[in-house]
Symmetry: C2
Subunit: 306 residues, 2 copies
């Protein structure tokens, strides 16, 4: 099924305890689209870059079946840039630099061919821009998934709630779920967030896995315990890309299939963190993904003998 | 199978965001033994109290099949007392008061009838006392499980490592696993801890579940997402009690059965946190425990369709 992905396409400079990467490819829409490309081929990206963004990276995305008609390339301008340093524990990071550049003027216009897409993935952006994209769809997509972050809760809660009201799945982390709902218990937080609009809530907990809520139904997906987490940048976006990519491929929104989508998202994220930037997401083989899925099955599988 | 449980039997005063409980029954051996009593009946407790400890509480333990021949009741002395206050998020707490009382002179002497037990559960205590108990066993038990905490890593690392060397299963939390091993990755931490002696490692992660490691095998057990966590005191001990109680009942140390033991431990802990002190652990019905097990199966169960 056709999928529209929206978010940044950008450069990151990253420091982790394992090394440094200068001005490497990043951005929510990059990670989302690449991860999704392992499941479905009709992917239509919406973003903005400057003319400093490398041609060969765009070529690679096209090669993976990602349509870039909705990518606005601004001559003489620079792409969004973020620099950050991860702490020893990799769970927290400091932002060292943020240069909005072209993102300051981002006013997405969806190509006509995008406007009938069945699946829409809104990567983290200002909620007003996410809303603008929703409004440009000719027909309400079958599924809208929205990612966001605490920053918008701090500075734009009203606009954020308006956009959240329009989506089917919200993906946030546990602290954000608590901040958004004012509830400490994630069970209560999920109930409060369901009332804001989304039928499904995915709470991403990094190394602790992810939770999927739909009404009273809960699914707890593990994270794969890894010997080495090299660079967590993009893990949440990669999760979202695997999640919606699998749903767009299977076109089945039952809770059972949503569970599988969460596991596929987790599997893709487990690859992402193994190298800097999108390196590990390039050229993955279907057999590698399948093998990783088996590891997820193995680590949670038990026979309760009830 | 016969089970010896060692640890404190004590009073706690607890403040949580939901209320206060003054001088209620607590202690690692209390929680461990009560949780285990839902699985096996030959439970033999080793601990020390003052004559201020209520008779009816001891009577209740005996009623649940817990042999108290190894409980030293010191006339004219006071029981161990701990007071603490949980923060809003329930994940951290401040100690307000610690009165060692009888615990200062605890020098456990195992009754003869205890010394052939097949299962030994060492609750959190000074590692030297845990070692003393191991040495008093006539025959090396089939399984020794040891719980400990960061405090002993700070003040008695050498003694702690000597005791750890003697046990089969170590149960600690994620931060403690990192402190003990010097490794941030839990996969690497587990490898390092295996080398210290224990064949099995259980890493308790509270609301994020628990991990079981044996060599290269990993099992990820969820925690049940709860609408309300009332009082987390004793959850780790209750986990350990359910874990070893189930193993003593089934007398099967295969990895498959260990997984089930982790799930039973998690289920018992999920009851513990629903009320203050041991209240929720009193008078549980087998059907309630079975029902909770089913909830664990449901929240992790998925069909990967590989």
């Amino acid at each position: 099924m056709s999928l529209v992905t929206v978010g940044t396409v950008a450069f990151d400079s990253i420091e982790t305890p394992f090394g440094k990467a200068e001005r490497v490819v990043g951005g929510a829409a990059t990670y989302i689209s690449l991860a999704a490309s392992y499941f479905t081929k009709d992917i239509n990206l919406v973003s903005i870059v400057g003319d400093d963004f490398p041609d060969e990276e765009l070529k690679y995305m096209r090669k993976r079946g990602i349509n870039l008609d909705g990518l606005d390339i601004k001559a003489g301008k620079k792409s969004f840039f973020w620099a950050g340093r991860y702490h020893e524990n990799m769970n927290s990071r400091d932002t060292l630099d943020t240069q909005l550049n072209v993102l300051a003027d981002f006013n997405p216009k969806l190509p006509d061919s995008y406007r009938n897409a069945k699946y829409l993935m809104l990567g983290n952006l200002t909620p007003e821009i996410q809303m603008k994209v929703i409004r440009q769809m000719k027909k309400r997509p079958k599924l809208i998934v929205m990612d966001t972050m605490n920053f918008w809760m701090d500075v734009a809660m009203d606009a954020l709630k308006k956009t959240i009201k329009k989506v089917d799945v919200l993906t946030i982390n546990d602290e954000e779920a608590r901040q958004l709902s004012g509830e400490y218990s994630l069970v209560k937080a999920a109930k409060a967030i369901h009332k804001m609009g989304p039928e499904f809530l995915v709470i991403k907990k990094g190394e602790h896995g992810a939770l999927l809520f739909k009404g009273d139904k809960i699914f707890f997906a593990p994270a794969l315990p890894l010997a080495q987490v090299f660079d967590p940048t993009g893990a949440g976006d990669t999760f979202a890309g695997g999640f919606i990519g699998y749903l767009a491929k299977t076109n089945n929104l039952s809770f059972e299939n949503m569970k599988r989508a969460v596991i596929y998202g987790s599997a893709m994220a487990s690859f992402c963190v193994e190298e800097f930037s999108i390196e590990r997401l390039k050229g993955l083989r279907a057999s590698e993904i399948k093998k990783r899925l088996k590891r997820f099955v193995n680590i949670v599988n038990f026979d309760a003998q009830l």
